[in-house]
């Protein structure tokens, strides 16, 4: 009796094991067949976890823009865009697995990789270099990759954390009529690579401008911030620069309200400045400011996307249509815009066919999104102008500051550029150190076309 009960369990297990083994061996196999004439783009997305709400908007916007280009123009130069999503859960290990899995799906190896996550970016930097796939870090990632001489395949487009931080300091300086001497600025940050990177640059800014900088870390996921905000209030900080991400953003605003710190003295980074952050905080968020590399609202391009994809036969990616036009959705559209523009620029040089990694890399180094080009793309005002080159993989360095008025984001500044004179030498030194440690000889930008 005892043994027979065990035996049926064993039988069931054997059957299950054989089934699992059969399916697993069949599972991840390259399938080039149907994508012969399509530009396949890997989408490493995250839609679950503490950063999930941001991801839903960003990747919804990205996929919607690619869909929009397919519908409106039949693809890029007649080559349709195709894509596949893979859930990374914002974790480096899953990001690596998703990258490797999607790499096998097409000879384009994914066209370009947008991890939208600093830890996954760090994990993929060496792999994308070895596989010759460009990795694009729009507004996040490893700062010293701006120097394309040491990082030919990594592109921190639009701007980087230090440029954003120094631009915020510039904005604060403008607010204080150009004089920040004697002021106290607290830097409240998520204790991760994302949060720590601007610290050296902010310390340099503090020396130059004469303000006192206090750095206060928050352990992820940061839902409990009472102690940090008490510390801020006790130190009588004049301004708080907030570098949060995910659910901690709303917690920060509520905690600030509890200790009575005025929200209009808080400026967040763009990962702490979206509707998913302010709406859950309710009226605690009123007055809170944040940096933005793309604006919110239904600008002409976004309105056109909504009309095309969410009209009679909705094929859009967003389940919740109210998020269209939100900061994260627009950010996704900007990511899609950059991807498509790079493919266009590559096709202009190499012909109207499916582009491979080396061609896309060349295009990413020769992007020129001027005012005229943005106007042609119907994206004026949506993102800043951007021009990349071999030595400058960033291209822009500009942000706008916006303020939450209780129902929507209102712009309170025009495009502000970060402190390039301060940031560039520091990151160049970091790139040189990296090159030394890995034994990389820098490219000579003057020699390349």
């Amino acid at each position: 009796m005892f043994t027979s009960k065990k035996f049926t369990g064993v039988k069931a297990m054997c059957a299950a094991a054989i089934g699992v083994a059969a399916l697993v061996t069949g599972a991840p196999s390259p399938s080039f067949a149907q994508q012969a004439n399509e530009q396949f783009v890997s989408v490493l997305s995250f839609r679950v976890g503490p950063y999930g709400p941001a991801g839903v908007g960003i990747f919804g916007g990205f996929i919607d823009y690619m869909n929009y280009v397919n519908v409106k123009e039949g693809g890029v130069g007649g080559v349709k865009l195709s894509w596949e999503e893979c859930e990374t859960e914002y974790a480096a290990a899953r990001g690596v697995e998703c990258y490797e899995r999607l790499k096998t799906k097409s000879p384009t190896k994914g066209t370009m990789i947008h991890p939208v996550s600093t830890p996954i970016t760090y994990a993929l930097l060496d792999k994308t270099l070895a596989d010759k796939v460009p990795i694009v870090q729009t507004g996040y990632g490893r700062t010293d990759t701006v120097d394309g001489r040491y990082f030919p395949w990594a592109f921190p487009l639009i701007t980087t954390y230090p440029m954003q931080a120094t631009a915020i300091v510039k904005f604060l300086s403008q607010k204080e009529k150009g004089d920040l001497r004697g002021k106290k600025i607290a830097y409240l940050y998520l204790d991760s690579a994302y949060g720590k990177e601007p610290i050296t640059y902010l310390q340099a800014e503090a020396k130059v401008n004469g303000f006192e900088l206090t750095t206060i870390p928050i352990t992820p996921p940061g839902t409990e911030q009472g102690a940090q905000w008490q510390q801020i209030r006790q130190s009588q900080a004049d301004y708080v620069i907030f570098w949060g991400f995910g659910v901690m953003n709303a917690s920060a605003m509520r905690a600030a309200q509890k200790v009575g710190f005025a929200r209009d003295k808080i400026i967040g980074s763009w990962w702490a400045g979206s509707e998913e952050d302010t709406v859950p905080a309710g009226d605690a968020a009123k007055g809170y400011m944040s940096a933005a590399m793309n604006v919110s609202g239904k600008t002409p391009l976004i309105a056109d996307i909504e009309k095309t994809l969410y009209g009679a036969n909705p094929t859009g990616n967003m389940q919740d249509k109210s998020k269209i036009g939100g900061i994260n959705y627009n950010r996704g559209v900007v990511i899609g815009l950059i991807t498509v523009e790079a493919i266009r620029v590559a096709q202009a040089k190499y012909g109207k066919k499916v582009m491979d990694g080396e061609q896309i890399r060349w295009a990413l180094e020769h992007l020129d999104l001027s005012d005229a080009r943005l106007k042609a793309l119907n994206a004026t005002g949506l993102m800043p102008t951007m021009k990349t080159s071999c030595a400058d993989h960033e291209g822009s360095g500009k942000i706008k500051v916006q303020q939450w008025d209780g129902t929507k984001w209102a712009l309170v500044s025009d495009w502000i550029e970060g402190n390039r004179q301060l940031v560039r030498p520091l990151l160049e030194q970091s790139a040189i150190d990296y090159g030394k440690s890995k034994g990389i000889t820098p490219r000579d930008c003057a020699k390349e076309s």
Partner: protein, 358 residues
């Protein structure tokens, strides 16, 4: 019928005490070794190495470490990821500051550093047991991650706190492709797993199991409790440390404290619970289960959804995968509370007398 054991006589004590006494087992095992060392590197794609095989091997090593501590010695520990972090950062600092040492020696020294930290955090085990000890090891988890972030010396004063691991070389031979990483990790894991299996079968292992089963009785018959427990902590942390160094160097390529979070400690613990506590085989099975199954579900569930035209959005599909994964863990533990390794053991017993049922 498969196991023809008639005629297999042992004529020496050594033959009787060997790891694989049955000839068919020896043949099967050496065939398996030939497959994983020779056939797999030649025929398998890069995806399998980077995404499946290397993490399975690394987590098997960490799970063996935790199995020694929790399965054999009975000391519940929630700090395995902390010891992995110590191993990873020690390896980084040793390779950075003493580049003349062969890297394999650096990894082993990193394991030794992790062992020293393990002894320090294992000291409470002399006085407390069970869940209370789990809390003390939880303190190790938080303290180590905090210390690695607080003192910039560990990250070589990097501004972001994330450092790129230096390339791996084996006595001048660069280990840079997925295949080479796989073979390198496989060699280390095979040797260490063999050592662990032998330790578990030896006097050391018997002392651990005595402490686990009834430590008062163990003390009465003369087993030194403090020494045995700290030895278990040291050896377990050594294994976790080497696993952490391999995780940083051969798998992810970056070393950062956030990667070795409490979540990873729990994962390693669940691997040995589902795989089978107190067995070396259980570590491998548990690591395979936890690595392969989520990926398999993320391929299978969207496939089924599109086959039956279920219109779930991507986030819902991921949540469904989580639910099914959790349900499978519960199912396997109900069917066999001693873990999948016990199922394997029962299967082998049945195979030995097959086709007879008893």
């Amino acid at each position: 019928m498969l196991y023809r054991e008639a005629g297999q006589f042992k004529t020496s004590y050594a033959a009787d005490q060997q790891l694989l006494p049955i000839r068919q087992d020896r043949i099967a095992f050496f065939t398996l070794l030939a497959v994983v060392f020779v056939i797999v590197p030649l025929f398998v794609s890069d995806y399998w190495f980077s995404a499946l095989l290397i993490p399975i091997l690394i987590f098997s090593l960490a799970a063996i470490g935790l199995n020694i501590l929790t399965g054999y010695a009975g000391q519940l520990s929630l700090g395995s990821a902390a010891f992995m972090a110590v191993g990873a950062f020690s390896a980084y600092n040793i390779v950075l500051r003493m580049p003349w040492l062969p890297q394999i020696v650096s990894f082993l020294l990193a394991g030794v550093c992790a062992a020293l930290v393990g002894i320090a955090f294992g000291l409470p085990s002399v006085r407390i047991k069970g869940f209370y000890l789990a809390v003390a090891t939880l303190a190790a988890q938080f303290f180590v991650v905090w210390a690695l972030q607080k003192f910039p010396w560990f990250t070589n004063n990097s501004s972001s706190g994330v450092i790129s691991a230096q390339g791996v070389t084996f006595f001048g031979f660069p280990i840079d492709s997925p295949v080479r990483n796989y073979v390198f990790v496989l060699c280390i894991v095979t040797v260490l797993a063999l050592c662990a299996k032998n330790m578990a079968r030896s006097n050391t292992g018997r002392q651990w199991m005595a402490v686990r089963d009834m430590d008062v009785a163990a003390e009465v018959i003369g087993i030194p409790l403090m020494r045995t427990k700290l030895q278990a902590f040291a050896i377990s942390s050594f294994y976790c440390g080497v696993a952490g160094a391999l995780y940083a160097y051969c798998y992810i390529g970056t070393v950062e404290p956030e990667a070795f979070s409490l979540d990873m400690s729990f994962r390693v613990l669940f691997m040995i619970i589902v795989g089978g506590m107190g067995t070396i085989m259980g570590a491998f099975i548990g690591a395979t289960f936890f690595t392969v199954l989520p990926i398999f579900l993320s391929i299978l569930i969207p496939g089924i959804a599109s086959l039956f035209n279920f219109n779930f959005d991507k986030a819902s599909l991921t949540y469904i995968e989580f639910m099914i994964f959790g349900a499978l863990i519960i199912f396997f533990l109900i069917v066999e509370p001693h873990g999948l390794a016990r199922l394997w053991q029962i299967g082998k017993e049945k195979l030995r007398i097959w086709p007879f049922p008893h």
